[in-house]
Amino acid sequence: MLREPPDGANLLATAREVVLRELLPVLPESAQFAARMVANAMAIAAREAVQDASWEADALSRVAALVGAAENPLRAFAAAIRAGRLDDDAAAFAVLREITRKRCEVSAPRVLKEAGRE
């Protein structure tokens, strides 16, 4: 609230438009791939900046409920899955789906849109 706007997400989105609309058309072909990567990185960072990060704590507490007390619940979760202790466990599958959905919101929102259409 006390920081000066526009915030990071706004700056990234605005700067990304400059990369795509002003720089890309005048860049030589050899630099286009790099410019597209820059625009892609800015989009990911902007989505991360606006995502409500509280889902991580919620997801980790759901994971902890499945695997019990552990120093690193996510590691214990991964180990339990590998050991077959969560085979066909609907609650485990549900939390995996939720974590992946939130991760895709930042890294690959396109796949969530596709899934919504199916």
Partner: protein
């Protein structure tokens, strides 16, 4: 390539090609993979012009990757088996010439770039014909079987390629810092549903859109043999059909054409149709493999070993691969 290197290369090529009149008229870097460097060489010899490709290692070499000499041997074996590959010409292990081993092959025409190939309705004679042709190429690769003395460096085949793959990716995950429960979920599902092993064949291990050059008439070259190994033939079919290698296209065979046409082309050359359930098993493995490798690539950026925007962005592919892994497990289990 500086003047001294180019002169040393010309001297070496004159000897290798037994052509005293050989002259390098052009040498320009081609867009290569993350591991290898490719140079387009224009040469004249015996009074005529030829177009070649020189393939050598770049600074960061993955330990899983085959050496240039081994890749050269694989190309020779593939050519002999009727696979469409650029004819391998010369191989050089002498570090004094270019500072790294290299080999030279003929330069195939056409394009490989995945996003362009999947958009075309006409390349390779159209989607149906090209998918069929890809099936035939895969079957010819799989006709190469052990024992094969020229490919001795591949070692003995695993008794069960599927179980070996599960162990390999678990070991890779164990070397990474981040726990990956979704990938573990996929691996555990594969472990519980593993098909029985089949006799080993040569598997290309990166047989996908983007590594296959095509022109209007058909396939002009199957490229990038550095991951080839003995294994289950369905590995290559699952990798080619995996959603992550369709470049956003709806067509199931590499974003290029129908899966049925790909299978039909395979059956035509192999004599029997692929086992669809086995291909689907390896298709799930394909997403797991790409996710584990993508995480490894991002780790090279994160550790500071090789700061790179491309590697950094590769890490952000992992979530969508995980999404597909969960979807596939859910469907298999249903």
């Amino acid at each position: 390539m500086d003047e001294a290197r180019r002169a040393a290369l010309a001297r070496w090529l004159r000897e290798a090609a037994r052509a005293e009149d050989l002259v390098i008229t052009g040498a320009a870097p081609l867009s290569g993979g993350a591991i290898q460097q490719n140079w387009g060489l224009d040469v004249t010899l015996h009074g005529r012009a030829e177009r070649w490709v020189l393939r050598t290692d770049s600074a960061a070499v993955l330990s899983v990757s085959r050496s240039r000499a081994q890749e050269y041997a694989l190309l020779r074996a593939a050519l002999a088996a009727g696979v469409t590959v650029p004819e391998p010409l010369f191989c050089c292990d002498d570090l004094a010439v270019l500072g790294a081993p290299f080999f030279v092959m003929r330069r195939a025409g056409g394009i490989a770039a995945g996003h362009r190939v999947v958009r075309s309705e006409t390349l390779g004679g159209g989607r149906e014909a090209l998918a069929r042709a890809l099936g035939r190429e895969a079957a010819r690769i799989h006709a190469i079987r052990p024992p094969c003395p020229a490919l001795g460096f591949l070692g003995d085949p695993e008794a069960d390629a599927g179980c070996a793959a599960i162990a390999t990716y678990r070991a890779m995950l164990d070397r990474q810092d981040t726990p990956r429960p979704v990938i573990e979920w996929g691996l555990r599902h594969l472990e519980r549903s593993a098909p029985p092993p089949v006799p080993p064949v040569l598997v290309h291990n990166d047989f996908r859109t983007g590594n296959i050059m095509v022109d209007e008439a058909g396939v002009t070259a199957v490229l990038d043999w550095e991951f080839a190994a003995w294994g289950d033939p369905a590995t290559d079919l699952g990798w080619l059909c995996a959603k992550c290698w369709r470049f956003g296209s709806p067509h199931e065979a590499g974003g290029i054409g129908p899966r049925a046409a790909f299978y039909a082309g395979y059956a035509e050359a192999a004599g029997s149709a692929p086992d669809h359930a086995r291909v689907l098993w390896w298709e799930l493995m394909a997403h797991i493999r790409w996710a584990v490798i993508a995480a490894d690539q991002a780790a090279r950026h994160l550790s500071g070993a090789e700061p790179s925007l491309e590697l950094a962005l590769t890490g952000h592919i992992v979530p969508e691969l995980e999404w597909e892994i969960l979807r596939m497990v859910d469907r298999h289990a249903a």
